[in-house]
Amino acid sequence: MAQLSYREAVSRGIAQEMARDGRVMLIGEDIGGAGGVFKTTGGLSEQFGRTRVVDTPISEQAILGAAMGAAMTGLRPIAEIMFADFFAVCWDIVVNEIAKMRYMTNGQVTMPLVIKSGNGGSLRMGAQHSQSVENWAMAVPGLKVVTPSTPLDVVGLMAAAVRCDDPVLFFEHKGLYASKGEVPDGEIVDELGKAAIRRPGKDATVLALGLMVGRALDAAEELAREGIDVEVIDVRSLVPLDTQTLLTSISRTGRLFTVEENPRLLGWGAEIASIAADECFWDLDMPIRRITTPHIPLPSADSLEDAVLPSVDRIVQDVRKGVYL
């Protein structure tokens, strides 16, 4: 058992898989010699060599094209898109090519690849380096989408993503890189498509992802002091979506809150709210509430960014208001 940071967990997970399977490659900007701009790939080029840990130019289309072509022909690459915002310059390869190839060819092509990326805000990096874009990916048939919130989940979900024969977008939260957690020794393999109940409770279900999980848990502690017993679920995997775990909890508590870092419109919580409204409407005791960033580009200054990302205070207030409705 070791205390690992979230960023160390990324390289631990990748190293576990690269050591196990010689077809696993790592490709991206500054990932080799520099160990990644977020230091999530430190030591990997020393351990596995420059032919398997490959530095590229600033060419996101070539990076993902290379990963796709390699995946189609027998390798299992992990590609890094440094900031998730940069998906916008290579989204064609993700959406039109990687996601659709198996379906269009009726299964002739298999696409075992992982695209890891630094996602999310709270680091004062402004509108082009802070976005939470899981919902972009979730909207595209053919992509699997995960966001770990703990070092242990980083290792296990990375292993599951690498072993998956479908393309997986692996969103690391930049605001969590320095966070720490216990990670047992030995091989760790998790499962895609499973949510995790982080705190059981009976009065309300709060769904969160990435950086928002910790804030939801802090809010739950505060609410517990007022006698409100909140269940916090880390959704972890948006595609596949663990609706069983989510709907069971929602039906039991009768109250659903989502805590989403993405801007308001069509965030990941909107789909879950729609499913809950369809499938457990009669179990609900109050309207579904989505707690999100407002529908604006993210500002840079501390005071401004803090004012728009869902905060512990906002979660506490919104849940309290809902429960006492």
Binding site: G65, M68, A70, M72, L75, M104, T110, D165
Partner: protein, 356 residues
């Protein structure tokens, strides 16, 4: 029966591509032996007759959606198809019927896909623009300009890493040379010395616009090669022998660790961009000049000159016509794909589930 191919007498033909200074053309080493010459002609006439039939079937509203024909451009597909090894990878564009046929893919499967039938290569899930036949090395036909150059790069990277003697060949139009993915792929393929051959089919038009009107250099691909440390290679893309010999040379070089090549093949699209385009923006004189340099006519005249009997040529044409007829009838007779195809093969488990 398919319409017989045009058959211009040798005297009516030009000796080279119109508007191209012969001094600029790369002359590959070697010669083409007779079996190869006959094989090249067989491919040319198969592709020509297939594309003509595809056009007829559009007019009968049996081919839906859009479709892009290689009429007039068959020598590039034929030359490379004959030169490639079975283990090599083809990455084609939405104008990919000929490139798919060139690798040995069943014509019936291609025709069925164009007609949206269940006997199609992709069971109707891809259509004309996405022909793929992995078993024969056709790693896909890609309909977003430029993307597949980067994907071919990946297949080359994979072959290099595994130490396999395979080459990835990406075919693309002149219009592709102005999109970012072209430059990203060329640069990285050159930096990594990958076994990838990039083949620009310069047919003078990016969709509806003359390529020269929108490109900073005269030769959209060859003139960019120097930017990536590659040679300037402009070939006569309507001469199947020149294409074949150039392909042999640079495929071999790539296969043996010599790195990528960028080849610009000057050719001409005798039709419009797609089904919806009659191509009226093209000059009458230009089209007439290129009609005198049609790749199948040129090759047939060359075979005759080399002493191949007319009967042998006619027999090859008839065999291709029969293949096209058989493919057409099989496609027409095949049922459309049923709804049971719909929710399959989104994922590797064969299904489409996104939730439990």
């Amino acid at each position: 029966m398919s319409a017989p191919p045009t058959d211009r007498a040798a005297a009516e033909l030009r000796s080279g591509p119109p508007g191209v200074d012969p001094a600029l053309l790369y002359r590959p080493p070697g010669t083409v032996d007779r079996p190869t010459a006959l094989a090249l002609y067989r491919q040319l006439t198969r592709m020509r007759q297939f594309e003509k039939r595809a056009y007829d079937l559009f007019l009968q509203n049996l081919v839906k959606g859009t479709s892009h024909l290689s009429l007039g451009m068959e020598a590039v597909a034929a030359g490379f198809g004959e030169a490639m090894h079975p283990e090599d990878y083809t990455f084609a564009t939405y104008r990919g019927h000929a490139h798919t046929l060139a690798r040995g893919t069943s014509m019936t499967g291609v025709m069925g896909e164009l007609l949206g039938r269940d006997n199609g290569l992709l069971h109707g899930k891809g259509g004309s623009m996405h022909l793929t036949d992995v078993g024969n090395g056709v790693m896909g036909s890609y309909a977003i300009v430029g993307a597949h150059l980067a994907i071919a790069l990946g297949a080359g990277w994979s072959a290099q890493y595994r130490g396999e003697p395979r080459v990835a060949v990406a075919f693309f139009g002149d219009g592709t040379t102005n999109i970012g993915a072209f430059h990203e792929a060329l640069n990285l393929a050159a930096v990594w010395k990958l076994p990838v051959v990039f083949v620009c089919e310069n047919n003078l038009y990016m969709e509806y616009t003359p390529i020269g009107d929108v490109t900073a250099v005269d030769r959209p691909a060859a003139d960019r090669a120097a930017s990536y440390g590659l040679e300037h290679i402009l070939i006569d893309g309507n001469d199947a022998d020149a294409v074949y010999l150039t392909a042999m040379q640079f495929l071999d070089r790539a296969r043996t660790g010599g790195g990528p090549a960028l080849i610009e093949a000057q050719t001409y699209r005798s039709g419009g961009h797609s089904r919806a385009d009659p191509g009226k923006y093209k000059g009458v004189e230009e089209a007439a000049a290129w009609a005198q340099y049609d790749p199948t006519d040129v090759y047939r005249a060359r075979l005759r000159q080399a002493g191949v009997a007319d009967e042998e040529i006619v027999a090859i044409d008839a065999e291709a016509a029969h293949e096209v007829d058989v493919a057409t009838e099989a496609a027409k007779a095949a049922p459309p794909p049923g709804p049971d195809r719909l929710m399959t093969n989104v994922w590797a488990d064969g299904g489409a589930a996104w939730r439990n």
